[in-house]
């Protein structure tokens, strides 16, 4: 378990692609530089979408935690 404390959590479980990534982008859009967003997704595509977008946008993917029924992504806004 990570001990990162996010400023905001976005629960996109149940959303179909590209919903989780767009929910993350929406949260990052309204966040301040340095804020950490935690995204909860049970869509497999997020495992590739989220790291690709984080890299493209220069935001840092701090951690990825794969749990039983969903994955948690911690992304820090640049």
């Amino acid at each position: 378990m990570t001990d990162i404390e996010p400023q905001k959590t976005v629960d996109a479980r149940g959303a179909t692609c590209p919903g989780p990534l767009m929910d993350l982008i929406g949260a990052i859009r309204s966040a301040s530089s340095g804020d950490v967003i935690r995204l909860l997704s049970d869509n497999e595509q997020s495992l590739t979408d989220v790291p690709e977008w984080a890299e493209e946008a220069d935001n840092e993917l701090l951690a990825v935690e794969e749990l039983d029924d969903h994955t948690e992504f911690y992304v820090e806004k640049a």
């Binding site: 590209p18 859009r29 977008w53």
Partner: protein, 381 residues
Amino acid sequence: MTEHVVIVGGGTGGTVLANGLAERLGTELDDGDVRITLINDGPDHVYKPVWLYVPFGQREPEDGRRRLDELVDDDVDLRIDRVTDIDTGAQELQLRGGALSVSYDYLVLATGSTLAAERIPGLTEGGHDYYSEPGASDLREELLAFTEGELVLSVVGTPHMCPAAPLEFVFMADDWFRERGLREDIDITYTYPIQRVHGNPHIAEWAQPIMEERDIRVETFFNAEEIDPDAETITSMEGTELDYDLLVTIPPHAGVDVIEAAGLGDDGWVDVDKHTLEAEAAENVYALGDTADTGVPNAGSVAHYQAGVVGRRLASEIRGRPATATYDGKTLCFIETGMDAASFVEFDYENPPSPAPPSEKLHWSKLAYNESYWLTARGLL
């Protein structure tokens, strides 16, 4: 006791549902066992797919507008007013124009999408759109005057109405400029927020080669952050800056405020069971069309099919039977690929789309359906 069904929103979903229920519950309405009220904040029903054709001079905005009182069954009480508060505990609505509240036994929210261009700095001043009547009319003037330079179409936010329409616009613009002998002097760039050209991977895979073939440039992972109308630039969160001479955007969308205030979901979209379309946070509340957060496209066909499901469920509940009708994600879209060719897709929660080869027949099928849409609104087709 009379059961009162209140439908909020007189777009495709709300109107099809009101007429469908009036037909389905004719006996109960005659006997006074049920009452149906449709509340809309304006007197007209608006068929938005017409707007795509306005910039290209093929339709007029008024072609997509008809009076609700001419479309809705006489057995439906039509109220032109705006809902200002939803109390799902007391099962009551407050209306702007009325001192008295409206009680309901069943509530259906079909309030649809609104545009939120103000969320992106510079978008209102710098961008044009075809997602509103004035936007489509203004864009027609811009396109007619546009003879050379950079045309950028940017999908700023998703979900948005008619996910195929951005692709359709650039395909039609490409063809329209070619027909007018201007294409060599005009560059077209299409931007999309994720790493492909459409949210649905199957449609993206189909569209990308067509864009390459037609020399439509693509910028993916492009989430507009700011527009500078003076410098004529659009900058993304990912750090890409594009120059434009004409900027067409799909503005960010939002639902209506009363939904979030009622605790039914974020940003005006109602959290629902994606099969029953029942609200997750309240009893006896349904949502359909754009308003229902199901993950399927915000499209008229979706609202139409969902209205059938909600109508059947409500009829069952009113008759004291278990509601068994469910929505399977059915979506149907024609996709224009030029000024005289179109493709077609049909899909659901389980079966992905497989776009049909573009043809003139499909283009005319789309136009024919747009004409016969008014039968759908009346609950006949």
